[in-house]
Symmetry: C2
Subunit: 165 residues, 2 copies
DNA sequence: CATAGTAGCTATGATAAACATAGTAACAAG
DNA sequence: CTTGTTACTATGTTTATCATAGCTACTATG
């Protein structure tokens, strides 16, 4: 898809973010990074992306400084992908997306007894934070590292089915 | 671009959001909607999108229920595009994107004396909210409607230049 | 009443990106 | 010296995006 305009140097902050985050593949990779996925094959299985787009996006994300490669073995050299601070800061965007979807993108009761697709609890105080950006119990602002996510049984099953293939 | 997987029925909330928001064009349209833009030609000028993608995305967004068409005149019938409640709730996503970019996507001093690309103040108390999701003065949670955005001179000039063409 | 706007699209053909599938590189283990 | 593992790259088809032009349904002006 040819780009009429490159937005990386617009003065609009949403435009600049959109250049990176306005891409399905990048969002899926980020999601998995935040769930602790670090290896190529695992990204492929979990995101359903083909190896080409995946490789392309990982390069792009590295170039943008949101992830970095770290070798986890020599002979042959193999790398993992880790979020940088700039990348970790994108958590707020993904979290806002999650909050929106949990509220607006599910049919009633679609997530059964678990209540929602991903339940987040505040690490420091253990409270279920619901769909809030601040802890409803202790009032703290919530960012990456403060939250512990727990997937619903349905979501867990879906992910396991994908990896099994 | 053919889609290997349709994500609108995945159990993952980020996946569901990504189906809508993981698209550059949709993000640009949303940005302009939040700045008060409502008409086809204005979207075209401000986003730089061609009429085809714009028309396509507006239809998609209407189908998803984030915007609705409202006639603003008869003879000939002309429409404006308005955010629904579901659409307004996406503000948090765009705001998170703005916050990330203001912090990570600008060179130092790129926004000159104005300090940032868009300055937001809390309507209720007038405080500059910085890059926070809660008001630093009164502590309130900030959503669409609570904030008043003010563009930097550079951003304003850029937008005016686009509309002039 | 004929031409010139105005706003919101649709049509067309060229280009570029995404897709599925297959294959390669660099080793280790048996 | 064959099989397996992980991380990709190569190839050709399908699909989306792009620029440009044109259409529709009117109003306004001369």
């Amino acid at each position: 898809m040819p780009r009429r305009t490159d937005l990386s140097d617009t003065f609009c902050p949403v435009g600049r973010s959109a250049e990176l985050v306005g891409d399905r593949a990048v969002l899926l990779i980020l999601r998995d990074l935040f769930f602790g996925v670090r290896r190529f094959e695992a990204f492929q299985a979990n995101t359903g992306l083909g190896p080409q787009i995946l490789a392309d996006r990982l390069k792009r994300m590295e170039r943008e400084g949101v992830i970095e490669k770290r070798p986890y073995q020599q002979r042959p050299v193999r790398h993992e992908y880790w979020l940088t601070d700039k990348g970790k800061a994108l958590f707020d965007v993904l979290y806002a997306m999650r909050n929106w979807a949990e509220r607006w993108a599910y049919a009633p009761e679609e997530n059964g007894a678990f209540g929602r697709a991903v339940r987040y609890t505040h690490r420091q105080c253990g409270a279920d934070v619901g769909l809030s950006t601040t802890c409803p119990l202790c009032g703290e602002t919530l960012g990456y590292g403060d939250l512990k996510g727990e997937m619903s049984p349905a979501l867990l099953a879906e992910r396991e089915a994908r990896v099994a293939r």
